[in-house]
Each structure stands twice: as C-alpha cells, then as structure tokens.
C-alpha cells in the first residue's frame, strides 16, 4: 500500500471545509459513549437475572417439581409448594384487569370524546395524579377504610344475596380475594385510563370526521372506528396495568390475609390467600439458611418469568394488531 503525500497544501481532501474550522474528531467518542451505556444496562440486566437464577438453585434442589403442584409451604419441614401463590397471583390480576380494563378504556373514551373541553384538562390531571400515587397509600386506605366496610357491611350483604354459596361464602373476614382485587382494580384504573386517553387522543381526527360525515352516530364512531384504530395502544395500556397488578406487593400484603392452612387455594371471593409477591413478604423471617432463602428466590424468579411472559406476549399481540390496521 502506498501513501501519497500531497504537498499542495489543499486540506479539503482530509475533511476540512474552505474557510471554516477543521473538524477535530471522528465518530469514535459518540460510539464509545453509546456502547458503554448499552454495555452498562446489559450487564446490570445480566447480573440481576443471573443472580436471581443462581441464588434460587438451592431452592429448586429442595423443592423440585413439587414447587409447581404442591399446596403446602412450610420452611420448617423444607416443604415448598407454591401452587397457591401462583394461582393467587393470576386470579387477583385477572379479576382486577377484568374490572379495570373496561372501566379504564370507557373512562378514557369519555375524557377524550364526551366530556366538555373545559373539564377535559382538569379530569386528565386528576387521573394522572391518581396514577402516580404510591401503592402503599392504596394499601393503607384499603386496610383502614375498605376493610371494616367490607367486613361489616359489604360481605354480609353479598353473602345474603347468594345464601352463602359460590361465588361468596357464608361469612368473610374482610380481608381476602374480593378486597384485594378491588384495591388492585382501583390502583391500575388510573394507569389504564391515562395511557388509553393518550392513545385515543392520538387517533387521527380525519377518521372520526370521515365516519361522522357518512352518517354514523357518535356511539358507532367510537365503537367501530376509534377503538379498533387505537387497539394496539389500548392493549398496551391494559398490559401496563396488568404488569403493575402482577407485581403489587405491599398493598396486597395488608389486605389479602395470608394463605389459609385448610384451603390454601382460594375457592371463593371471600377466601384469604397469598400471591407470589406477598408470600415473599410473609416469609421474610426465613432469610437464613440457603434452602429457605433459595426458596424465596424461586418465588421471585417465578414471578419474574410470569411478568416477562405477559409483557412478551402482549408485545406480539400489539404488533399483530398494528399489522392488521395497515
């Protein structure tokens, strides 16, 4: 390879501009910074996931597959059956989302399309304020305000309606599946509403105007044009709410009452139960001995896998929804 040395003094060949300042660097610093940041985040994720898996190994060794079908959790006899917790997590989340999703999306539709413009800003800010309230406050409110109400008025009334049969029981203790799901629903409702409101506001206005000009009523426009157009975003809003519900810990610890020894898996709405997150808190005293700590890590790993699966499948659903819109 020969290098030609140009002695003519013309520096434009090497990137200088005539009459301007010579650029003194290349892309390298930016690339280094970006790679460092990426590497940092990647390594944090790897270390976190890795330590979660590594520390749970003694737990898996002690519990084995019994973890997924066993119903007794007793660290003093090294029995680690987490089926009640897994089912508890799923049931509370499903119930909460079943209530919060239609209410949230409906509320968002109301905010964007129904409420007078002057009130829109006020209501939007209120919803956003509710969405950022820490969950411990919902938990304390649920424990101090809703729990006595549930125990003394609501549960007896509900029991009388079905004569003590499913989905209620003869008597409740206030704490339990019903209270937990209600509080979860209240907690994720502002999140779902706020995000749905942003999504619905982003629906192109010509779609709406076009439908109206064809003679559709407002209701038909909302149902047949706006919601389908916003479907990917609405699904995303519901998924964010679901993720918050799945990971909810402290509020549920106060109001779920812990797994009942006789019926660890909840069979009616008045049952007390544990979720994966609350079982970690309630077994916090077991933070000694590699087996008990390992078992707690197993609970954490299971929860992480559940949340990851929900997020992953939601993303695929959103992508498919968006594709169908094109």
């Amino acid at each position: 390879m020969t290098v030609a040395i140009d002695s003519s003094g013309d520096t434009t060949k090497y990137g200088a501009r005539r009459g301007g300042k010579t650029p003194t660097g290349s892309d390298l610093p930016y690339r280094v910074v970006l790679w460092v940041v990426t590497g940092f985040f990647a390594s944090v994720m790897i270390v976190f996931a890795g330590s979660l898996v590594w520390n749970s190994i003694p737990g898996w060794q002690a519990a084995g597959l019994y973890f997924f079908y066993g119903t007794t959790w007793d660290s003093t006899i090294a029995t680690f059956g987490a089926l009640p917790f897994i089912l508890g997590t799923l049931i509370t989340t499903v119930l909460a989302v079943l209530v919060a999703a239609p209410l949230g999306i409906g509320g968002a539709l109301a905010i964007v399309f129904v409420i007078p413009r002057r009130l829109r800003a006020v209501v939007s800010s209120l919803v956003e304020l509710l969405a950022v309230i820490p969950s411990i406050i919902y938990g304390i409110w649920g424990y101090l305000v809703l729990l006595p109400l549930m125990d003394q008025k609501i549960q007896p009334w509900l029991a009388s309606k079905t004569g003590g049969h499913w989905p209620f029981a003869e008597q409740g203790v206030g704490k339990g599946l019903l209270l937990g799901s209600v509080i979860l629903a209240v907690m994720i409702l502002p999140t779902v509403t706020a995000i749905s409101r942003d999504v619905l506001a982003g629906v192109p206005h010509d779609l709406v105007e076009g439908a109206l000009s064809l003679g559709a009523t407002k209701g038909q426009v909302l149902a047949k044009v706006v919601v389908p157009a916003a479907r990917p975003g609405l699904i995303g809003a519901v998924v964010l709410g679901t993720a918050r519900a799945l990971g909810e810990t402290i509020a549920l610890t106060l109001v779920l009452g812990g797994a009942s020894p006789l019926h660890p898996i909840p069979t009616n709405l008045f049952a007390t139960l544990d979720t994966l997150a609350t079982s970690i808190v309630n077994n916090w005293g077991d933070l000694t001995g590699s087996t008990s700590v390992g078992a707690l890590y197993c609970l954490a790993l299971t929860l992480a896998v559940i949340v990851g699966t929900v997020n992953f499948s939601a993303r695929r659903i959103i992508r498919r929804s968006a594709r169908r819109l094109q």
Binding site: D151, V173, K175, S260, P261, G285, T288
Partner: protein, 416 residues
C-alpha cells in the same frame, strides 16, 4: 543490706499479688459488683451486632436494649431487634446472621431438629450454643366481638371480662366451637346476660393464627395439649388449620384480631396491653379464672418451677424440663412460659462476646434492695406486660451465661 530488703519487698508484693489473683476468680466480687460493671463497655465490637427472632419477647428485649444503651453506652453496639418468629431466631443464631437469636423454646425440641443429625446443620450440636432464659411472659387470648356486639355487651365486658376454659379454648381453636354464643361459652359467662338471655352475639369466631415456626404457637399448643389432648396431641409450631388467616408476627396478629369481626388470637400479654385488646380470663387448673397480669405469671413461674425441680430439675432438652403451662395454684395464669436468647458458646471476637454477654446479663438481672437507682432488664418486665423471672431462674440464667467463652475463658467476669 539494701539487696536483702529489696528482695523482701519484692517477695511480699509478689505474694500479695498472687493472693489477690487467686481471690478474684474465687468469688471475692459479688454478683452486684459484676452487674454494676456490666452497664459499661470498655470497647465497641468491630461491627454492629444483630439480634432478633421471637416476637413474644420483643417488647421486653427491645425495652431492655434501649435502657441498657442509655445507661452509659455512647454508641449503640446493637441494631434494632428484628421481631419475626422463634424459628428465625434459632436459625439465625445458628447461621450467625444474628449474634443473639431469641426463641420461645430451646434448640432441638421439635422435629426436624435445629442442629445435629437429621437437621440442615448435621455437624453442629446443641453444646455449641448457650441458651439463656430471659423473659417470663404469658399468652393472652385476645378477642373482638365484632360490630354486632351490643352496647350492653360492651358495658358488661368492662365489669365481667370474657371467661374461657382450657377445654373450650381447645374446641375453639380446633374449629369445633364456631360462634361466640355457643352454649359452652355462654355457660362460662353467666354474668354476660340481660333479662335471662345472653348478650354474646351470634358472630362467627374467626381464628387468627401465626404462620408456621412461631414460638407463641408452641407455648399455646403446649398448654392446649395439657387441657384438650384429643384435639391437640402435642405442642407444635405449625399454623392452626382452622384459621381464617395467618400472620407473620405477634404485632400483625394483634392488628388482625382488632380488624376482623369475631376475631380471636393469641399474643404475649404486652401486645394486648399496648394495643388495648380485650383479653379473656382463663380458668386455671384450680378452677379460678385468672388474667395474664404479672401476679398470675409470677404464680405460674413459682408453681411451675417447684414442679419442675421435683421432677428432674430445670433443663432445656425436653419440654417437660422447662414448660410451666397449666401450673397449679389459685392465682396462677395457666398459659405462661419463658423465652430464651441463644448465642454461640465460643465467641470469636472478644469485644463482640463482651457486648453480648453484658447485655444478656443486664437483661436477666433485677435490681436488688441496695441498687434501686439502677433499672435492669427484669425491672422493666411488669410495665411491658411480663413478670420478672424468679430469682432462682435469674441465677440459673447467670450460670448459663458464664458458659460463653472467648479463647477458652469465661467472658462474664468483673474485669471485663
């Protein structure tokens, strides 16, 4: 001439020093003089010390810790007491996570054992630990009649507290008696009637249990196994199967009973006092209904220890060697017991060992007649819902404490 007198002086000094040196360990210092020295630490441990475990003795141990630290220790060597359950106390004392692990029953009482063959620490042994009785407390039965309780009932309960017997308690906690106006409960409470009919409501009894591993559960089920053998064959730390919900420590159980209509639970008396829970009177072996106050607890300890001494002496290897449940006597509260602090016998750091031993010595001591100015651990018992341990047990505790060693030498001495 000088040399001879010098030799003499040196010899005399040597003999005096030698005599004094033998006199010190031979007990020339009294117990109280060690005690006066025990509120001072000459040097701090290298790192903060941890203690925790049983929630049964949490009020007393934490109050004693606070008192000890205000007496002369400028910087606290201990972090706050972690109130969880006895199982954590034992496991953490063994693993070293806590320097002092507190439990309401000693090591290796239940199966699987804590140390030794069949446990997760097969190479370890009970002989590697020193277990010191530190508290005399009572399990109080707290209840909540619920919102359906009439104001008449509430007034009557102020004058005639709810009375329960061991047999009835057993049936309640076995899930056989399910309503507060069950005939057995009504029969025990004839004063809770207005115009011939009982004011006890038709309210479902909701049992609040502890999660498994609780020492309070052990103490309570040990009592139930003596009065209701059919439903409770042996003492156990497992959760009650008919419980409406489970709670991770005594404070949570107390809060649950207050929150739930018809709740009934079992916590150390200090919690009931601190939180204002209505507490039941329990009918003792002599047929008298007694409250878990210090009088009842002291009577239980005195009668219980007398019985134990007549049947093999106080020992921590079997339940019958330390249980004082259902003791005889008209003023005895029937559900009472001791709580224990567990430390490693051979301490590996001198300052750590000294701090642990001095605090435990402070905890188990009671001010004698000559030192009323000082407040030691057992002096704080009554105001926190316990009773001071009998002096004989305090001395036994002091003897056990002398078993804690550093480099083969007893740490508890007047010079440390």
């Amino acid at each position: 001439m000088l040399k001879k007198s010098l030799r003499g002086t040196v010899g005399a000094v040597a003999v005096t020093v030698g005599l004094l040196a033998t006199a010190i360990p031979a007990g020339a210092f009294t117990v109280d003089s060690i005690m006066k020295n025990d509120v001072k630490l000459k040097a701090l441990p290298p790192s903060t010390l941890n203690l925790g475990g049983s929630s049964f003795d949490f009020p007393l141990v934490q109050a004693s810790l606070t008192q000890w630290q205000t007496n002369d220790i400028k910087k606290s060597p201990f972090s706050a007491y972690q109130s969880t359950k006895s199982g954590t106390g034992r496991a953490s004392a063994i693993s070293g996570a806590y320097n002092i692990g507190c439990s309401d029953f000693p090591l290796n009482i239940l199966t699987p054992p804590d140390v030794g063959v069949g446990s997760s620490n097969p190479k370890d042994a009970v002989a590697n630990y020193v277990q010191v009785p530190v508290a005399l407390g009572g399990v109080s039965i707290i209840y909540n009649m619920g919102s359906s309780a009439t104001s008449q009932l509430k007034t009557l309960l102020h004058i005639y507290p709810l009375t329960l017997s061991g047999a009835v308690l057993g049936q309640i906690f076995a899930g056989k008696i399910t309503y507060w106006n069950n005939s057995a409960i009504v029969k025990l409470n004839p004063h809770l009637t207005v115009s011939g009919s009982t004011t006890l409501p038709h309210q479902k009894i909701n049992i609040e249990s502890r999660t498994s591993g609780s020492g309070t559960t052990f103490m309570f089920t040990d009592y139930l196994s003596r009065v209701d053998k059919a439903d409770f064959p042996a003492a156990t730390a497992a959760a009650f199967t008919h419980a409406a919900s489970t709670n991770s420590n005594s404070a949570a159980l107390d809060a649950s009973v207050k929150a739930v209509d018809g709740g009934v639970g079992y916590v150390e008396y200090g919690y009931a006092v601190a939180n204002g829970n209505p507490t039941a009177l329990i009918v003792n072996a002599a047929g008298k209904a007694v409250a878990p106050t210090a009088v009842g607890l002291t009577a239980a300890a005195t009668a219980g220890l007398t019985f134990i001494n007549a049947h093999g002496g106080f020992k921590l290897s079997t339940t019958s060697g330390f249980s004082i449940n259902n003791s005889s006597g008209a003023t005895t509260y029937p559900i009472a017991g001791f709580s224990y602090c567990i430390v490693k016998k051979k301490q590996t750091n001198q300052n750590t060992g000294i701090a642990l031993v001095k605090f435990l010595d402070f905890l188990v001591h009671q001010a004698g007649g000559t030192t009323t100015a000082n407040t030691y651990g057992q002096d704080l018992a009554i105001r926190n819902g316990y009773a001071p341990m009998p002096v004989t047990l305090q001395n036994i505790a002091r003897t056990f404490l002398k078993g804690v060693t550093y480099n083969g030498k007893t740490i508890l001495s007047a010079t440390n």
